[in-house]
Structures are given as C-alpha cells and as structure tokens.
C-alpha cells in the first residue's frame, strides 16, 4: 500500500533576526497574539466626541479663531510690522481663563530651547549647522548662522496686547509660546476679542534656515536683481486646544510642525507699490492693486483652457528695475483656513487658469490654479507649474474630496517645499535653466520631474493636513505619509513613464530590516530618522493596504470616507484606523500592529512542500504503482557490488530451493486483494468512493514567519502543463500561530513549483526563501554585471555609448 508521497524541500536556513514584536508577549511561554484587537487596550476609549466607528461624534467640538491683520513690510530693513485683532470662540466644554499663542519666530532667538538644545547628534533639520560631529571643527556656514542668530535679534517682538477697550492685558512669554491672561473667564460658546501688536525681523532663509524669509538675486547680464519674500509663521497665532490633549503647547523645536485652529482671515498687506503679492485667500481689492489689463487677463484665465499670463515674463523683467518709495495695500479674505501665508516680489511672473470641479455643494465649482515665479525659473515654471497644480486637484479630488478653496497657488522662492492653505512654496533655485547648443534655454528632465513632484506634494498638503487637520507635531505620518501615498498615485497618473519606484513595497525592505528603527506611531519631535519613518514606511503601508490587503475598491471607499468625515476637523490616528476598518469590513488590527506599532519586517518563507495523492485501495492500481515505485528505486548497492565481484547466490546454485514466492512478483494482484477491494467498495458511500477514485492531489505547504509581521500569503503555483494559478491566502491564516503554519491545497493537476509573493507586493525582505523548489535568485549586482548594458570599465567592451545618442555604435 502506498502512503503519502513525500516531496521534501530542504528547510531554508533560518535567519535569527526576528525582531521582538510586542503584541502581548508572554513571560512563561512564547505565544504572541498578532491578531489581538487594539481597541480597549491600546486605543483611547471612544466617547461622544470621537466614536468607535472612527467618525466625529455628536459632541465633537473645535475652537474657532478669526484674525483681522494689518501687516507692513519694510523692504530696506527686511522687517515686518503688524497689528492683529483676534476673535477667539471657545466651543470646548471647558472654561478658559487664559489662551496660548504661538510665537514661532522665537525659535531663532539665541536663548530659545530650539537654539540652545541643538546637539551634535540630534536629528533636527538644523542640527547639522551646529558643526561636524568631530568637536575639533565647525563649518564656516555654521559659524555665520550662529553669529546672525546672536546679533540680529530674531523673534517676535511683542509691543502690545490690548483688550477690546484698548486696555493692556497680561501676557507671559515662554520660549515660542505666549500665554495671554483673559480679563474674564471664557465660557463655552463665548467669544473674546483682543489685539496684538508686534514686529519681527525677517530671516535670511539660506543662512539661518526656517520655512520663510527672503532671497535676493544678484543683478547680472541675464538676471535682474531684487528679492523674493516668502512670509510664513509670521503672526502670533492661537495654539490648538483639543479634546484629547487640551492645549497643544509644546515649544516649537523646528521639526515637528504645527497644530492650528480653523477660522476666517481678513489680511491687509502693505508692500512697495510695484510688488505682486500672492496670499492665502481671495484678493478683495483687485481694482486698486491691479491694472485693467491684469484684471482682464484674470477674467480670461477663469474660463481658459490653458494657463494665461496675468503678468508676462517681459513685464516682470521690466518691473524688476523699477524702484518706488510709495506703498500699496493688498487685501485678502480667506474663510475656514488654519493658517495664512503670503509672498511678494517685483520679480513675479504670474499665470493662472480656472479649474472646473464638481464642488458637490460644499466646495467651489471653479478653482483658480495660479503660479508666481521669477524669470530665473523660466522656462520650466511656465511650462509645468500651474498644470501640475491642475493635475493634483484632479487626482486628489478623486481620492478624497473636492478641493475646498477658491484658489491653489504655487510660488517660487527661497523656501523649497512648504505648504499653507491655498498657497505653497516650491523652491525655485530648483530648475535653473540650462543653455543648449543653440544657446536656447531649456530645462533638464530631472528638474521637470522634480518640480512636478514637489508641486503635487505641496498642493496635496492643502488636503492633508490643511483641511483634514491632523496633528503634524504628534503624528507626522498622518499628513506626510498619507500625502506621499497620494503623491505617488498622482505621479503615476501624470504620464506613462514617470519614473517612480519609491512607492514599490520592495523599496522599504532595507529600512524595515535595519536595527535603528522606531515604530511609526512615535512622537514626531523625537523621531531620529525622520525620512523613511514619516514619509516612506507609512506610504508603503498604505500601498500594501490598498493593493494587497483590501483591494482598491474597499480601500478607496474607506479612505474617501475618512477624508470626508474629517474635512475641516481634527482627526487622530485612531479615527483613521477605525474608519478604515469600519468601512472596509476587514479586521485590520494585525496590519496596524505589524506596520505601525512594531519595528518588525516582512519575511515569510516557504519551507517544505508535501504532495499527497489518495490511496484508491484498488489493488489493480495500487499494486502497479508499488511496482513502478520499486522499479524506480535504485538497485541495492550491496547486490550490485556482489554481482560485480562475481558472487553468486545460494538459490542460483541450488535451484531446488526456488518456490512459488521466489517465482512470483510480490506485486501481483491476488484474489484475496480483489475480494477485499470489492467488499470495501460495497461499504463506501458513493461520495467516498468518488473521492478515492478521483485524481485529486493534496499539497501540504509549510510556511514560517521569519520577519515578525504577519501578512497574506500569496502563492503562484506552476503546473506540469505549464499553466499557473495564483492563490491569495488572507493573513488570518497566521492566527493560531504567528510564526509557522501549514496550509493545504487541493488540485487535480500536478504542481511542479511554487513561488511566494510573485508580484513583490508584501515587502518581503528576503526572497531567497520564497521558492519551491529552492531557486537561487541572483543579486542585483550579479544581474547588472551580466546584463549587456553594463559598461565594463576595464575596457573589455567593444561598443561605446556616446553622450548625445543612446544607440550604441561599434568602437
């Protein structure tokens, strides 16, 4: 009788790199509950403000803070002077007797926490400017920065805080925060109005850093002089006060960004008369600050198919060389925004186009996409900037909700890559034009792609977190991770071969196996390796969630619901996690645990494969199979060697001992076997008989989880006839044992090979254990070396590629 046929794969060498995952690690045994629910234990208890469904509750509240600001730029001094009247509405069920305001410019004071705590080993944006790690040396630019900070008197200079009657109010400054003591307690539903007067010195971005400032150009033959001013974090603004944290009054250290409140802004910006100003909000006094030609062009742009110049490159160039003593005031109004930024320059070219969308009654049906940039950024910016804005709106609208504001702007200037409601700063030294052989200015392909990418990313931020107002400081990944994920989608949709690989799950494996990680759910200010943690890993987690775990339909529906629920509100990670689960109907706690809460990686191995076929019990079949098996087995070595030596057997010398058994094939079918089979057939039910007589094979596959993160097991079976079949096993297969599992597969075809994760979807860090029979995959370096396009620097090649042609030619 035959029993199970064994096809055994040598067990892959175990890598002993299973990082400690801590979903409820036991002390006396090693049971690890990878599917344990996060609700009730790790997540905050749902309440009437934030529900267990992930939606805002009936008692959800947030504050509203409205600003009426007059600001004046003294160009000569690079100094700003401002007065703001603030109306603070308290919707919290708390009574407030003081308010906290943010004075972000104070992080440049020499005695600020940010400056004083710049360490050699810290990971902040500016920590490199404290000098090299070797204490014997310091770079010249770091010295210059320190000097300027020490001497220039940066920071908000508060010259007055007065109540509605003009009476002074008490205030206390604590590093980058100011506490204003209210004359009367502010109860729920009440508002208070007061005025702050201040001034501050603008930071030179390229020396000091920061997210705003000025950049002046040298006047040369090709470029005009003059400066671009980008103004952000410029006014004392209310710190966030939330249901889950109270006052968000951690000092601003320079990295984790901002928590802010929504409100309406009326801002009057006084600048030299020949400036062009771009700002959050809609221009209210175009008839005063724009001439008829510009106003006509703006009207034309609203319904145009392509961007229209409001200020042409030639006009901007001519404008540069003017100078003026007089000033002009630009008035802007913005509703329901959490911040306000602006930029001004004589150098600005300005183009615009109206983008139509279905506002669904809650957003405008027409959005003005506009760009402001100097001639130095041409021709790249006029070709792509406004169009990239347009494209971003189309893609993000699809994933989230209609763009919620009347305008979306992209500004070139010293600040690269920063976002504010309705306005983004996207660099500008970027994309310097290059002269081609004919002396024409052109731009490089790399610059084009880079500009498109940064604009998509920054405009995308207007959705997350400017509108879906997550806490950038505490959970950086909620805006950077989500936004990078959508940016990746928008880039892929820009043009066919837009080269993006960083969204491929495999690109994160190096990071995930590294030994310096912190989980994604880590407070922002302390994240040591900012980049991959806040930007890449959450992004890839979302790609995996969308393409592999949930599928696009479920993911897109859940993601859109999250965005719509929390539009103009303040979500926490738990609201996101809960919404994704509730809408998709899929339990995802194992996924959040593995990807967001742990530093484990994905590495599943296929260790052994057994093939089993049914024993039919039919002697005609089984005996023949046994005979075949015997015949297939090699002859006994002893017997073969004996024969070679010329030894003869006793029976061959004495044939009279040969009997029936000696002459009969042991596998011959006997009557008794036939009778036994017929009896068995009589006893079997029809369905049992069918199974025994079927051609079904059963495969037993052993998997082990080397990396710690449980993931779906995706298999591709290749059959003897050459056909293939993909099978996707949900991650729940690991629920009894997150470290190893045996799974069975039934088919009537013969399997010749199995591959784990054939489409490279799961970020499996080690593919060498993904094959049965084991296949040795060459490394990237080996592939490169053996590929024909690899250039051999030892000069073996007899073909050369020249710079101006990608076709090879014989040397």
């Amino acid at each position: 009788m035959r029993s199970l046929n064994l096809i055994v794969l040598a067990t892959a060498a175990a890598t002993l790199n299973v990082a400690a995952a801590q979903p409820n690690q036991q002390t006396v045994n090693d049971w690890r509950d990878a599917f344990r629910q996060l609700e009730d234990e790790d997540w905050p208890t749902p309440n009437r403000e934030r529900r267990a469904t992930g939606a805002p509750g009936p008692d959800y509240w947030q504050q509203q803070v409205d600003y009426d600001i007059d600001i004046r730029l003294d160009e000569e001094e690079k100094h700003l002077y401002g007065v703001e009247t603030i109306t603070y509405t308290n919707n919290a069920p708390d009574t407030l007797d003081f308010l906290w305001f943010q004075l972000d410019q104070n992080r440049f004071r020499p005695d600020s926490i940010a400056v004083m705590t710049e360490t050699v080993g810290g990971g902040g944006r500016s920590s490199s400017r404290t000098g090299g790690s070797d204490p014997e040396g310091i770079s010249a630019s770091a010295v210059r920065r320190r000097q300027q900070i020490a001497e220039n008197g940066y920071g908000h200079n508060i010259t007055g805080v007065t109540d509605v009657n003009g009476e002074p109010m008490d205030f206390t400054i604590v590093d980058t925060l100011m506490r204003i003591d209210l004359d009367e307690d502010l109860t729920t539903g009440d508002s208070v109005t007061f005025t702050i007067e201040w001034d501050y010195r603008l930071v030179e971005t390229q020396v000091i850093g920061g997210r705003a400032g000025w950049e002046c150009f040298e006047e040369t033959e090709d470029t005009g002089g003059d400066c671009i001013y980008q103004i952000a974090q410029w006014f004392p603004r209310a710190a966030a006060f939330s249901d889950y944290e109270g006052w968000h009054n951690k000092a601003f250290l320079g990295r984790g960004e901002f928590g802010l409140e929504f409100g309406d802004y009326d801002v009057s910006i006084t600048v030299p008369q020949d400036f062009i100003v771009a700002a959050t909000g809609e221009l209210q006094n175009a008839d005063e600050v724009l001439n008829q030609v510009q106003r006509d062009r703006l009207d034309e742009a609203r319904t145009a198919d392509e961007p229209v110049f409001i200020v042409t490159p030639a006009e901007a160039r001519a404008n540069e060389r003017r100078g003026t003593r007089s000033t002009e005031t630009w008035e802007f109004r913005a509703e329901n925004v959490r911040d306000f930024a602006w930029a001004g320059s004589r150098k600005f070219i300005w183009d615009a186009v109206g983008v139509e969308q279905d506002g669904q009654g809650e957003a405008p049906d027409l959005v003005m996409a506009m760009s402001f940039y100097p001639n130095e950024s041409e021709p790249l910016w006029s070709t792509f900037s406004t169009r990239a804005v347009e494209h971003t709106i189309a893609v993000y609208n699809d994933f989230a909700f209609p763009y919620p504001y009347p305008t979306a702007q992209s500004i070139a200037g010293p600040q690269g890559g920063m976002e504010y409601p309705m306005i983004t700063f996207n660099g500008g030294t970027y994309g310097r034009p290059v002269a081609d052989d004919d002396g024409n200015l052109t731009y490089s392909l790399g610059s084009k792609r880079g500009l498109i990418g940064v604009i998509i990313h920054e405009i995308g931020h207007i959705y997350f977190p400017m509108t879906v107002n997550s806490d950038e400081r505490q959970w950086t990944w909620m805006d950077e991770g989500l936004n990078s994920f959508l940016q990746f989608q928008a880039e892929r949709q820009w043009e066919e071969d837009f080269p993006v690989r960083r969204g491929d799950p495999h690109s994160i494996t190096s990071y995930m196996v590294s030994t310096n990680q912190m989980p994604i759910m880590t407070q922002s200010d302390s994240i040591v390796q900012f980049g991959p943690n806040a930007y890449s890993k959450p992004t890839i987690a979302l790609v995996v969630l969308r393409e592999t775990v949930l599928g696009r339909e479920l993911f897109d529906e859940a993601f859109r619901t999250y965005a719509e629920r929390w539009r103009f509100r303040r979500p926490t990670p738990y609201d996101f996690f809960r919404t994704m689960e509730e809408v998709s109907g899929v339990d995802l706690d194992w996924f959040w645990r593995g990807w967001f809460y742990s530093t484990d990686h994905v590495d599943i191995s296929i260790d052994r494969v057994f093939e089993g076929t049914f024993n039919t019990e039919n002697p005609e079949i089984e005996n023949a199979l046994d005979a075949a098996e015997d015949a297939a087995a090699p002859e006994s070595l002893t017997q073969a060697s004996n024969r070679e030596e010329g030894l003869s057997t006793y029976a061959s010398r004495n044939p009279e001992v040969l009997d029936f058994y000696s002459r009969t094939d042991a596998n011959i079918v006997t009557n008794r076997q036939r009778e036994a089979y017929e009896r068995l057939q009589g006893e079997l039910d029809e369905w049992e008989a069918d199974i025994l007589n079927s051609d079904q094979r059963i495969y037993y596959l052993d998997f082990s989880n080397q990396g710690g993160v449980v993931m779906p097991i995706i298999l591709e079976f290749t059959y003897a006839d050459g056909s293939t079949e993909m099978v996707r096993i949900p991650a729940e297969v690991w629920r009894y044992n997150p470290d190893s599992v045996t799974w069975t597969f039934m088919t009537d075809r013969e399997v010749v090979s199995v591959e784990l994760d054939p489409l490279w979807e799961t970020a499996d860090a080690d593919r060498s254990d993904n094959y049965f029979p084991p296949r040795i995959e060459p490394t990237r370096l080996e592939v490169y070396r053996s590929s024909s396009s690899g250039s051999n620097l030892m000069g073996d090649m007899d073909q050369r590629v020249s710079r101006d042609s990608v076709r090879t030619r014989p040397q």
Binding site: A13, T119, G121, G124, R125, S127, S128, R129, G132, S133, D134, E136, G137, S139, A140, S141, R144, Q206, V207, G416, G417, G427, G428, T429, Y430, R432, V434, G446, S447, R449, L451, I452, G453, V454, H457, S484, Q487, E491, P499, V500, R501, R502, S510, S514, V528, G531, P532, Y535, T779, R780, L781, E782, Y784, R785, G790, S791, N792, L793, V801, R803
Partner: protein
Amino acid sequence: MRKPRLRTWILALAGMLFLAAPASAHRVHAGVTEISVNPRTGEMEVIHRVFGHDLLEAVGEETEPAQIWLQTEEGLATVGDYVRERFRMGDGAGNLIELDYVGAEADGEFAWIYFSAPAPEDQAAFIVDNDLLADHFDDQVMMTNLRFNSLVRTAMQGPGRRSPVRVSFER
C-alpha cells in the same frame, strides 16, 4: 606599512558655501547601502541606492537625466569616482577594505551604484563611513545595512552624526 586610516578631519575655512537644500519631490534626502556576502560568488557586494536626481545634482550633472547619463562612460566614471571617495569601510581594526567599482544604473528615480570585494576573512566587526551626498545636502541621511553571520547591523549617518560607525557581529 601604514594602513590608511578611515577619516581625517578637514577644517572648513571661510568660503565654504552653505547650500539650501533645494526642493525635491520627496523632500527627504536619504539613501541606503546594503553590504553582504554573495554565497554563490563568494564576493562581498556593496550596493548603494540613492535618488538619481540627487546624485546627478551632487556631481554637477544638470542636463541629462540619470537614466541616460548612467549609460555613458563619462557618467559611470564620474559616479564611480564620486562614490569611491565618499564611502569607505574597514575591518574592525580600521584597516581600509579596497572596493572595486562594478558600475551603476538608474531604475525609476533611484540610482544604484555597485562595488565589490573579496569576502573578508574577519567578519567580526567593521567600520563604515558613508558620506554619499552629504557634502551636497546637509540633511542627507545614509543608512548602511551590513549582513554577516546571519545578522543585520545598521549604521545610520546623518546631520550631526557623520563620524564613522563601528558595528559588531559577535553574538
């Protein structure tokens, strides 16, 4: 015979230009270097991965995209020299390990640069100094994963943490 040490400090004097990190689509200046022994070939492979446009910017190539430039002899040679100077590794005692340049290629927005060396006899400890792109982007973070003895050890070098890192593979 004096073995070359890994790092000598250079005092930067006045005139060193501080470069504001230009805007880039990913906003993150980060790269990865993987070092392991290929069991088949017996070679130690050093594979760098950085963003192609960052690399080209750092070496001053402004016209061609990485996809094309890294197929040219000039491009490959420039990148090889650049990386050779900025990535160094040594054994536990600090003796420099000579690496041979194999080549480079672009894949999507990544640039891959390949070096190799015979598998080291002593794999107990290494010192790495990964300064790729750090001269051009002061916020560049380079993560070096070394895999020996069935273990992974990571050296992370970034702003404020540029000195060579020692990793140990003893269990």
